[in-house]
Symmetry: C2
Subunit: 247 residues, 2 copies
């Protein structure tokens, strides 16, 4: 198998996974040509096994192997996990724009850990429940069976539209993104990017989450998000649009 | 008042505050001459008020003004808070080695947020209770009155030496520092520093916490810490020793 095949998650609204978007944004930013192979939720594990991909990680509760996208095939060599793919892209395509400017690799790892624990996970109650509505019926059942709140609550009960739970969850989310805004405020130079005038991988981690959020919340809710923190997330979205194309 | 006066916290074991150490390490690294004015715990607020320092922040529970060290006087101009002091040092002394290499300012802010929430605070139960033993009796009472666990437990009950609570707290702490080890593992180049061959401010945030920890845990416990994660913290300490002098 020659060329680059990018295994991404299918939805009714195109590419939507916050994790595969990191890879897609990185590929597009570096100007690397690829073809997308779309997989629906229930297809991911059997298909990835069938092509010999290794599991991404273990389920922390059951210890079972977890197979996840993104996976990228480089002329048949499979690379699994968004972070490993980004590192591979830097090594294999050193001439394009860089995802990890010198001296930022470890800091970007810390950034991703900060972002997941303190920004993305606190946003979970408002974004998780929107997933079933944008995938096919079989995938929706698959997601409902898989995703449970820490207290065991099913997805549809996390923060139903119009509920007080949802209003409270949005307050928590805005506060969490405020921590990220305080980080972006410290950026060098006039641009919106974290590191100055050009995006780095950490920006794509954030953009991936924003793209996911835009697809699973209501239009009204998304409009509010883009107005938070003096419109920072709307500006970041605009800056990232040149790298959001999907094939 | 001419020259640079550095207001630091006094203890029986010299400089010990994880926050003032950030400043001391930064001053030493940049080769900036200063004199230390030592303050005991109960002296901090009245003394800082008497010289016209602004409060660092509000107590999140009571809303009361909080006065904390480090504070640095630059020819009488007071700068409060370790982060603001570091930024001031970069602007005022641009010719020395840099704490914030270009493109890393925002990432270092994210690092500090990650470090405090996911590494330092989870270490609290093993380090907080060691403070009264290394300060004078009046300061010890002051600290005991001030510091309570989130559940209201007094400092001496958090994790007493030899208790199962303490053993469990050390397990939590090691796991937390493991997250930081995963960050340091991604560092560019052969050195131990986060960003490559020279320290950055984020390294001093970590070293400040390590110096504090070394002074408030037992010698046996500290030996164990320096053996964690293939001895990473022991190596970082050694690399930082040239900047640990106190006047």
């Amino acid at each position: 198998m020659t060329g680059i095949t990018f295994y991404d998650l299918a939805s009714n609204r195109g590419a939507m996974s916050p994790f595969t978007w990191r890879t897609r944004l990185a590929l597009n930013y570096k100007g690397i040509a690829y073809k997308t192979h779309w997989l629906r939720f229930p297809e991911i594990e059997p298909y990835l096994k069938s092509i010999g991909a290794v599991p991404t990680e273990k389920n922390p509760l059951t210890g079972a192997d977890l197979y996840t996208v993104p996976v990228v095939s480089f002329d048949g060599k499979l690379v699994v996990d968004s972070e490993a793919i980004a590192e591979h892209l830097e090594r294999a395509f050193p001439d394009g724009p860089t995802l990890f400017p010198p001296g930022t690799r470890a800091l970007q790892k810390a950034f991703a850990t900060f972002f997941m624990a303190q920004v993305f996970f606190p946003t979970g109650p408002v974004i998780g429940p929107g997933v079933p509505a944008i995938v096919d019926a079989e995938s929706a059942e698959y997601v409902r069976a898989l995703r449970r709140a820490p207290d065991g609550a099913p997805l549809d009960e996390w923060a139903p539209l119009g509920s007080e739970k949802r209003a409270n969850a949005w307050t928590v989310a805005e506060d969490a993104w405020g921590k990220l805004a305080a980080v972006y405020c410290k950026s060098d130079g006039p641009g919106v990017w974290l590191s100055g005038t050009a995006p780095i991988y950490a920006d794509f981690v954030v953009l991936g989450a924003l793209i996911f959020m835009a697809k699973v919340v209501t239009q009204e809710e998304w409009k509010v998000v883009t107005s938070w923190h003096d419109g920072l997330w709307g500006r970041l979205w605009q800056a990232g649009e040149p790298y959001m194309q999907a094939d």
